[in-house]
Amino acid sequence: MAHATDSSQTVRMLLLSSAPGQFDPILNDLRCILPKSSPDHLDDNFIAAVRSEWEGETRRSILTAMNDGAADDHDLCVSLLRNAMDEYLTRKVASTNVRAAHEVLKAVDSKIVITIYAENVDLHNFRAGSLTGTYTLCNSTGSFAGSVRIHTHSFENGANFQLKSRIDFNPIQVGTCATSDGSEKQTSWANAVIQQIVNWEETEVTSKIRDMYDSMGASLKSLRRVMPVTRTKMNWNVRPHRVVQMLEKGLDRETSEE
């Protein structure tokens, strides 16, 4: 058996590589492998720390956080964006299976960072997925850029298939928001930012992912054909192949003699 420290590192690595929704099932499996009677059993504090690390990396922590931006509450732009994001997610998420949350924070360099996290964990139907969108807005220049990470997992009938995608968006201009602007202009700016997020997530991301699935047939064919070029299945009778090999050897010998 491995040393306690090595076991901890192994457990940490296995938990951090969980697919969406799989942290707890993997933890239960690890508890079977390393029960309380084992010298390497899993310490509750250690598991809590790994869970926190996993939720931070995937941004799943947003689902349980209280959008702790008390310091930004007086920032008009941040408040407008939060309200607009609330409205957007309320409209978008009608299914009871999907959990989604957002976070709007002002970064140290005065940029505004918008993060969206959504997941659908449906283990009874052997599927789960998550989407994390991270967008950075520079209010002084009006520049807006971002990226989306998607991770889906299907594991029916003992299979294990996962899609992992990171799509980056080119920076665009969305204008700026000043406290001296009228409320109508400010609201319009916030809505324009959200509309750009909608365009990125629902048009650009969707079309890139769909392109990939549409061309899946060609990708698989280049790895393994459905049928040989001859359009007939392989003849596994040894003798014809032996005759062909003998003929080829004979031809090679004639060619070399010439």
Binding site: I33, R91, V93, A94, V98, T152, A159, F161, S165, M212
Partner: protein, 269 residues
């Protein structure tokens, strides 16, 4: 905990983590269990194939497969050695027909304790796709690994073949998007015994070809489609103002396409 429960837990973890990292995850899991269980796990789990150089043979490129490496420590009779050589010749033809000349494959046989034998049949292929539109023209690699572990045992005038087949695929497009997965199936087939060993080549070859065809069809029509974002992230809402009717139509179309894929799988069965 019983050893079978621990083994099941390890297999469950493999199913819930990244299939591309299966080799590393298996290696880490074997560190957590007893040496006997580690050996059992290494015996029953197939991981993606890797290419390496055979420095004993002029640096020729070969496939590294743990099952095949284990077989080199096992006994192989002269008769089986001849069968292995014949298998490799005909398996090369099969490999080129379905996978192309640049693919790799090999067959390794060994004697078992009973009157039969066992074998490992492996196939590997990669493709590179230019990410069109990118400035630095990076190639993107997709991979296919087939690992077929066969056990053949004689029962009176018949041979029983037990086959466990695992396919690993990894398809990368647009440089930031990868679909990877693994699928394992187990089948048995009984055939009449023939006077010579050439009957094994024909029977086992067809068996492997049939199961690969079935698995490839399911990969494309069913399992890969089920990783689609549209299928999994069903938001249910309406942000484009399309109206409920269009949203429901889209949902119905999605379900119809998936049902068609399932129907194709049932027809094959």
């Amino acid at each position: 905990m019983s050893s079978s429960t621990i083994t099941q837990s390890c297999l469950d973890i493999l199913r819930r983590t990244n299939p591309d990292d299966a080799e590393e995850i298996l290696s880490r899991l074997t560190e957590l269990v007893t040496p006997e269980l580690a050996q059992e796990l290494n015996r029953c789990v197939s991981v993606p194939l890797k290419v390496c150089k055979d420095f004993d043979n002029d640096g020729k490129t070969i496939l590294a497969c743990p099952h095949a490496n284990n077989s080199s420590n096992k006994s192989i009779s002269h008769r089986l050695l001849k069968l292995q050589s014949q298998f490799n010749d005909i398996f090369n033809i099969y490999r080129e027909l379905y996978y192309g000349k640049s693919s790799l494959g090999s067959v390794h046989l060994w004697d078992t304790d009973s009157t039969g034998f066992a074998g490992c049949f492996i196939l590997y292929n990669t493709t590179k796709e230019d990410d069109s539109g990118s400035d630095d023209n990076n190639d993107i690699l997709s991979r296919w690994s087939s690992i077929h572990i066969l056990e053949a045992s004689k029962r009176k005038e018949k041979w029983l073949y037990s086959l466990e087949s695992t396919i690993y695929i990894s398809i990368t497009r647009h440089r930031g998007t990868t679909i990877s997965g693994s699928l394992t199936k187990q089948r048995q087939r009984e055939v009449d015994a023939t006077a010579n060993d050439e009957g094994h080549i024909s029977s086992i070859g067809k068996f492997i070809e049939d199961i690969e065809d079935e698995m490839r069809s399911e990969l494309e029509g069913l399992y890969i489609q089920k990783t689609s974002v549209d299928y999994i992230m069903d938001w249910g809402g309406d942000t484009k103002g399309e109206g409920q009717e269009i949203s429901e139509l889209r949902k119905d179309l999605n379900e119809a396409v998936l049902a068609r894929g399932l129907e194709g799988r049932l027809n094959l069965c």
